[in-house]
Amino acid sequence: MPKRNDIQKILIIGAGPIIISQACEFDYSGTQACKALKEEGYTVVLINSNPATIMTDPQMADATYIEPITPQVVAQIIEKERPDALLPTLGGQTGLNTAVEVARMGVLERFGVELIGASIESIQKAEDRERFRHAMEKIGLRIPRSGFAKDMETVRTVAEEIGFPIIVRPSFTLGGTGGGVAYNPDDLEVLAKSGLDASLISQVMLEESVLGWKEYELEVMRDRNDNVVIICSIENMDPMGIHTGDSITVAPAQTLTDREYQIMRDASIAIMREIGVDTGGSNVQFAINPQTGEMIVVEMNPRVSRSSALASKATGFPIAKIAAKLAVGYTLDEIKNDITGETQAAFEPTLDYCVVKIPRWAFEKFPETDDYLTTAMKSVGETMAIGRTFKEAFQKGVRSLEIGRHGLGADGKDKIDPLTAGKTEIEQKLTTPNSLRYFYIRDALLSGRSIAAIHEMTRIDPWFLHQINQIVELEKELRTYKGRNLTLDLLRKAKSWGFSDIQLGHLTGRDEETIRSLRKAAGILPVYKLVDTCAAEFRAATPYYYSTYESENEARVTERKKVMILGGGPNRIGQGIEFDYCCVQASFALREEGVESIMVNSNPETVSTDYDTSDKLYFEPLTREDVLHIIETEKPFGVIVQFGGQTPLNLSVPLHKVGVPILGTQPESIDRAEDRKLFQAMLQKLGLKQPANGTAVDTAEAAVIAEKIGYPVIVRPSYVLGGRAMKIVYHRAELENFTRIAIEASPGHPVLIDKFLEDALELDVDAISDGKTTIIGGIMEHIEAAGVHSGDSACVLPPINVAKEMLADITRATKAMAAELKVIGLMNVQYAIKGGQLYVLEVNPRASRTVPFVSKATGIPLAKLATKVMLGRTLQELGFSREVIPAHVSVKEAVLPFDRFPGVDTLLGPEMKSTGEVMGIGADFGAAFAKAQLGARQNLPVAGTVFISVRNEDKAAAKEVAARFRDMGFRIMATRGTSRYLDEHGIENMKINKVSIGRPHVVDAIKNREIQLIINTGTGEEPARDGYLIRRAALKYSIPYATTIAGAGAICEGIAALKNRKLSVKTLQEYHA
């Protein structure tokens, strides 16, 4: 069946901001879909609130709406655009839910829009637990027995039917708080009671426990001719009980016989048919009882997912692209397999390598929460590694994680000595799943525990434990060569089992370079093999490589001029999709310039690791060793390190040292901007000011500096991104304590201490320079005052509170620094304004997190231009001659993951905590801000009660805000101090107790839905128990809140915009026409 001609215009809903469980894999899938549909001649309309995505690049779709993804906005767009069809399966759960809601509103029917890819009926059949259960029973499959209860009596009845052990899950709680496993009726009484309390709707779900069962996933595709194929099987190393997003997973499945695998395959196909997914990709999860082989269905997602992104990268089969083509009527046998170019998409990929995915967590960002994994996902990113053995892939995966480790331990960074460590520590860490469990498995093995014992504690399949044991046994053997050279056979074996040179150096008492030389002399070098979907049965047309230690190298090295782009590695807080956006833009720019692009990255979620983004893709860890091997193979003209964030930046000096040509700004300049003393000297030379500061290498020195410049001070390590281990410190004890942490966070580098400019206005500037001319890309004014990390602060472009002269000063200062640092490419500067004085806070001669936002706001593709500049073009040649100051206003708002982390305070500070961002564009600040808030799921109220409780310093400002809310018809509620102040200034308000005073208090009022908006400021200094309880309650009941007065003022303007008129929608193409 050929493609449909009865539809011309298709609307795609994106996934919105990056949040935990919904990351850049949906940019990857959406981008593929946009490309595929445009390729077929369809007009593509796209909505996504996330400006950091490639899919929202204006050339990806015909009409690009960076607007909040709400059913109302989608309805507005449908009314305006009149698409023929809506494709809801590529934008994650957000896309799917929004589409269902839009359909429910009758909008699709009213405007004659056809839902393609999945029907409402099939979506509901898959998502509604009871309907899903019945569907599965109909085809002879089963899901875990479960039931809901709203009281203890029902709990007991339901439990009777299910049988112990039972998982108790409170409905509607944050981050899966509450609940647990009940092994007997006594446990059940306790757990269910507390679960009913924890639930927002006093309901618990009781479910048959399949904890410890083996977990599998199959990625399935179906076309409208009812052809069904399995793209990939995935086996979770971590068994049931840990969210699959938090599990180490392996492709293909390792411990299933063909008989068992085919049963699972048959079941997946039957499920596709029964649920009625007409076309596209789905994901089915199974659990298998390891003792009996009994199989149950855990769930199915009738859409592309994180796992399908992984499966696409693991196999080379582009699931999202094919899903888009199937949605418009093609069948699998009508679509070419791009990888081979000669065979069809109607087949099942086969792997001749092993793929390991390891999640990347960010517990270090949330010290108040326990590093403990459950059925609620907590990881913020993931890395994938490919090897010819599990051992190789696994160790490559660990060193790709950007956690400072170089393999499975034995790298000089092991925290505990397994031989002396307390028995309980290791066992506790094995029994309770956590982000470092695999290191503890090594410890357990080193301390002599048996595989059987470890299996008992972890329920990890013995096959995986045996693989890890082999690594550990080899480590022990390698250790015996301390002070001697390894035999070549052993060296070869160690490399093929994934040991890094750093590990081998550590184990034998040599350094990395010595091991490297030894290897090179003996010719022990990696070869590159192709990911080709077919295990070499057909010739692969696309050069997608991974390294391994074997005999035959398949890298096809060309004679063309080529440039290598180092990507950003796994997403984590502080380093996310923004950098992938820049890397992808760089790749596009290279293509435009006729230069071969070579991408190196280890993040399977990204567009950068799509097989057709660059001319060549090396799916490899971003370490010195791994990158140097590729450079030696490809011999590129230059390497781009300034786009991938801190990961490649950290490699710039080591690579430069061994003579690798770095394109654009040179590592010396990067160093000059990072090194406090050099930087200070430069500012002095240029006559620029920075807050009083000093550097310290120990706590005593830190104390002296702090006394000199006066508290409060900001303490931070050098060479880290995202404000890791950065804090505002108000007194000495705190200073000493924190300095110690900062030194640990960045060993070998001094700690930076700056005067903290309280209540200063902060600005971010992105600029581009070709070495002679520097042009401002955009100036952004932060909405939160200085002290909140720029990644967490909302910002507005162009600035609204900065005088013209000051903007001119900023431009001058930026250009002067660019010239001084010999910037070629991008540069980001952070400024603060206090008392009419401009301070330079930080300069980063590289792409910043705000580059995509600025590009979307101004219509200038900064990263692309920067790439061309790095190749030697001038800005003048490229036609970029002056700063673009748009007539519209753009607001960026951060999206925070607090709902995933029980017990964490939601107060913003200098340590970055947000996972993603949204953009709102409007004619004025109020409209843009309101859209940004909507996009970030802060539902600004247009009526009701505003609760205000602020610290003394903020009272005067709070009064102004209160007055404005009052004028808009809101009631004001305030705690004692604030209330009195407002009373004194004639603002009518209701007084309410702080929690610490007595009931009824503000949290009661929040629970009773008596408060619609919360303004609560506090300092990081006070324990602020009251503030904390208020903020957590706000989070739990989804009540918008501001933790700064500036933020409150912005919300006020946003609400005013919402009250005055309906927000309109407009495409990027229209904005930049």
Binding site: T257, E348, T350, L351, A535, A536, E537, S551
Partner: protein, 381 residues
């Protein structure tokens, strides 16, 4: 233990034997299925061949007594990237290494199996020798060159059963009236379809699949004559898979020719090729064959795609079947080769791939039902 693999074209691969000392020869082929190594090992169609699995980790789930396709390991040697000595699966009763060793079949690993696969893809399946005793490349290459060629060799007589037997979930020898092959032999006449299955190297799962659609199956040696079959008066005739080149199996071609039109015939794999030859078609050797569980086949009657299990080095030449009163019913989507046909006049059909799977997908299981339907519609009396 150190071993060396030498190909007839002079390429060698140093490797390791995980089954102790030995030396063996055969044609090297690759299989791309990621699961089902035990089924592959025991598939008689692999007789005369050394099989390399493209998936690098093999042995993960051990071996068990159920997942076998014949009574012994059939491959000449088994070549993998990394043998897994400690299996994990609730059905496992032993390791792959022990299993091979017990049956005297060499298993080697620790070499670049992808390089070997690419080499075969580029230059074609070829003869090879593996040895732990003779590690001299020149000597081994010479031995590889003197090994028998696949083309022109009748391997069927090596794997076919010596005596007829009934399949009742296992082999049941004929007792009492052995040699009296007549209509009285059927014990479920009228209740089950009486099927004579020619054993050219039949896989157990074909027998299981036939039984499942209601057949009583008498498995007969490849050399059984048409007269004998007719004396048995079956409801249908099944032509099995088997190893190697169909052309030298002239006796079977002749027999089949005499049976065409007599009763419904269903052929799989070698059975398909023999039927093709019997109808006057030609067969040819594929460069490196189809071996795996992901081969897409289009059913031209329904337009649907089946993901199929395959194992064949020879194929029926589509052009040679022109004008033979047949309808091509199935075609391979990867290379457009001939995957199945049906006679326009006589009740006979065959497929090149393996609807019985094992290992592989169950997409084509419907063909056994079609055989049953055909027998129902063409009552033998």
């Amino acid at each position: 233990m150190k071993a060396l693999l030498a190909l007839e074209d002079g390429r060698t691969f140093p490797c390791r034997s995980f089954t102790g000392p030995g030396e063996t020869s055969g044609e090297v082929v690759f299989n791309t299925s990621m699961t089902g190594y035990q089924e592959v090992l025991t598939d008689p169609s692999y007789r005369g061949q050394m099989v390399t699995m493209t998936y690098p980790l093999i042995g993960n789930y051990g071996v068990n007594p159920e997942d076998v396709e014949s009574e012994r390991i059939q491959v000449e040697a088994f070549l993998v990237r990394e043998y897994q000595d400690i299996p994990s699966n609730y059905r496992a009763t032993g390791t792959l290494g022990e299993y091979l060793q017990k049956q005297g079949v060499m298993g080697v690993d620790e070499f670049d199996t992808r390089a070997l696969t690419l080499h075969i893809r580029n230059t074609g399946a070829m003869r090879a020798v593996i040895s732990t005793q003779d590690l001299d490349p020149a000597s081994l290459i010479a031995k590889a060159r003197s090994a028998p060629e696949m083309t022109g060799q009748d391997l069927v007589h090596k794997v076919t059963t010596a005596e007829p037997y009934f399949w009742e979930g296992r082999k049941v020898p004929l007792n009492g009236n052995a040699g009296r092959l007549d209509q009285q032999i059927w014990r479920h006449r009228g209740k089950r379809f009486a099927v004579v299955a020619f054993d050219f190297g039949i896989k157990y799962n074909i027998l299981r699949s036939l039984a499942q659609v209601g057949c009583e199956i008498l498995v007969v040696p490849a050399g059984t004559s048409a007269e004998t079959v007719k004396a048995l008066g079956p409801d249908g005739i099944f032509l099995s898979n088997g190893p190697g080149d169909p052309e030298p199996v002239t006796y079977a071609v002749q027999t089949i020719r005499n049976l065409i039109g007599y009763r419904p015939i269903f052929g799989i794999c070698l059975g398909n090729q023999l039927l093709g030859l019997a109808l006057g078609g030609r067969t040819f050797k594929l460069k490196f064959g189809h071996r795996g569980a992901n081969q897409p086949v289009k059913n031209l009657r329904t337009g649907r795609v089946e993901i199929t299990s395959q194992n064949h080095g020879f194929a029926v030449d589509t052009d040679s079947m022109a004008g033979k009163e047949i309808e091509v019913t199935h075609v391979n989507l990867n290379d457009n080769t001939f995957e199945g046909f049906r006679h326009r006049q006589y009740p006979l059909f065959a497929v090149q791939y393996h609807p019985e799977a094992s290992p592989g997908p169950h997409d084509a299981g419907y063909l056994f039902d079609e055989f049953a339907t055909m027998m129902k519609q063409q009552p033998s009396r």
